[in-house]
Structure formats: C-alpha cells, structure tokens
C-alpha cells in the first residue's frame, strides 16, 4: 500500500493528483512540482487530501502537521487537510482556522491541528465523496 494525495479547490474539485512516484517510496516525498501546483492555485486552493492506507480512523503524523504548517505559512492562509483511510475520512484544520484574529483560546502553537467534528456544504456532495474513491484506488485499495 502506498500513499496518494489530491489538491482541491475551494469547492472541492480536484486540481492535481499525486500518486506513487515510482521511486520505491510508500509515502509522498517532498516535491517542487507539488509546491508549484499549490502556489499557482493559491487564490482558489481549498486544501490537500492524502491517504493513510489502512482501515479505521486516523490522525496526522508529525511529518503531516509540519507540512500543513509550512504550506500555510507559504500560501499565507489556512487550508483544509482531509486524511482518507480505506474506511474513514477525517478532516483536520489548525486551531486558529476560522481567522487569524479570532485565535482559539486553547491553541497550542503552530502545529496544533485538530479534527473537525462535523462537515457541511459541499463536503457531503457526490463529486467530493467520489474523490475519495480515486484516492483509495491510487493507494492500491
């Protein structure tokens, strides 16, 4: 099993898919190409979903949260970071996601990413949910 990622816009439509790079890695390695996609689409960027190719709920790794924080620092705003397993989707945002000025009173710093307990709007639409099938297929599921 390998990890895969999908960059999506503010309405949840895919902008870029990243599967295995053929170099034998089962994780998504650092990539200038991926960064250029994020930078070029920064005005309409919604976030990046990636897989943890196993069953059950999951949470971001240290590599994940440091990448979340670095990309948001580069882009200049907060993004949505769904993590897709073979059975679940968990959505993560920084504790200060709502606005930089309205800081979460319990925020523990730049790596304080928390799971959204409920999702709304297009996150329940068919086009968005179908992206997860694509991600799971890319991951070998």
């Amino acid at each position: 099993m390998i990890e895969a990622a999908m960059v999506f816009d503010l309405q949840g439509y895919p902008l870029y898919w990243r599967g295995p790079d053929g170099c034998g890695f089962d994780t998504i390695e650092d990539s200038r190409t991926l960064w250029e996609v994020l930078w070029e689409n920064r005005c309409r960027l919604g976030g990046v979903a990636h897989t943890h190719p196993w069953k059950g709920k999951t949470s971001p790794s240290h590599t994940d949260v440091t990448t979340f924080a670095a990309v948001e620092a580069g882009i200049g705003r907060r993004l949505l970071w769904p993590i897709v397993t073979m059975t679940h989707v968990n959505y993560f945002v920084h504790a200060n996601w709502w606005s930089a000025a309205d800081r979460h009173p319990d925020s523990q710093g730049p790596l304080d990413y928390r799971e959204l307990t409920e999702v709304w709007g297009w996150h329940n639409n068919t086009h968005w949910l179908s992206n997860f099938l694509g991600l799971r297929q890319l991951s070998g599921g």
């Binding site: 099993m1 990890e3 990622a5 089962d26 994780t27 998504i28 390695e29 650092d30 990539s31 200038r32 991926l34 960064w35 994020l38 930078w39 920064r42 990046v48 990636h50 943890h52 190719p53 196993w54 069953k55 059950g56 999951t58 790794s61 240290h62 590599t63 994940d64 440091t66 990448t67 924080a69 670095a70 990309v71 620092a73 580069g74 882009i75 200049g76 705003r77 073979m86 730049p110």
Partner: protein, 156 residues
Amino acid sequence: MVNERDWPEPTVTTLAKSMREVEDENILRRLNMANELVMIPAPNIPENMAKLTITYNGQQGDLPDPVSYDSTDGDLKQMAAESVRQGYIPGLDAVAAVDFTDFVVDRFPARDDVPYHRLSLRPKTPFGDRDVRGGHDCLDHQWIDPGHCGVCHEKE
C-alpha cells in the same frame, strides 16, 4: 604562463564576436505579456553567487544581494529569516515571527537562458505516516512499533 605576445591580434570579426558574447551574458531574452520578445538586463551576479527567491505569507520576493551558491540550507534560512524580519525584501511584508524551520531550498545551477545560479526557499511538501507506522503496512490497524502492529500484533 601565457606570454602576452602570443595572444592573437584582435580582428574585427573576433572583436565583434566577443562583444556579442559579452552582451549575451548580460541580457536575458524574455516574452512580455503581449508575447513580444524583449531584452532585459540580467542581474549582476558573480559566478559563485546566486539569487535567492523567498516565498512566504502568500508573497514572493528576491533577496536584493546575491548569496553564496554553496551556503548551507541552515545559513540560507537564517539569512532569509533576518531579511524578512527587517522588511529587507521587496515584495514581502516584514513579519516579526517568521519561521523557516520546515522550508526547503531548491538549487538551480546557471544555464544558457538563465546565466546565473538561483536558489528558492519554499515550504516542504512531504506527507507521510512512516513515523507512526514504522514504514510498514497493516491494513486493519496502524503500525505502532516498527515490525509489528500494536493492535493485532501481526508481524511484518
């Protein structure tokens, strides 16, 4: 040691050629927004130096002074952080709490169409759970320790 008398006398042809070469090294040919070919002066960057481009807070800018192409990533991050704090980079707002810890440096050597070295400081982009799973797969659970699943104890 080369004797000055051994040098060939410059002719009109060689002189014109050498002038053209000098011009080529200092002029970059680029398309403008109307798709017209324009010539712009190349930055005056010595051979072992590089232009450092920094991306931060939704903005991008170049350090006004060239930096050594052989500088370590740590040195470049430190230079960039200090410059951003001071508001020294055109195009980038000053940010007091700037942090480039999880940024990476891309290095682009000089080439024909860009005759100087370039460095780019940008956010890293890896995603990975190898620090959680130990780099192995258990489809039913996360790997807790390298080599076996901490839930079902399935071995690698």
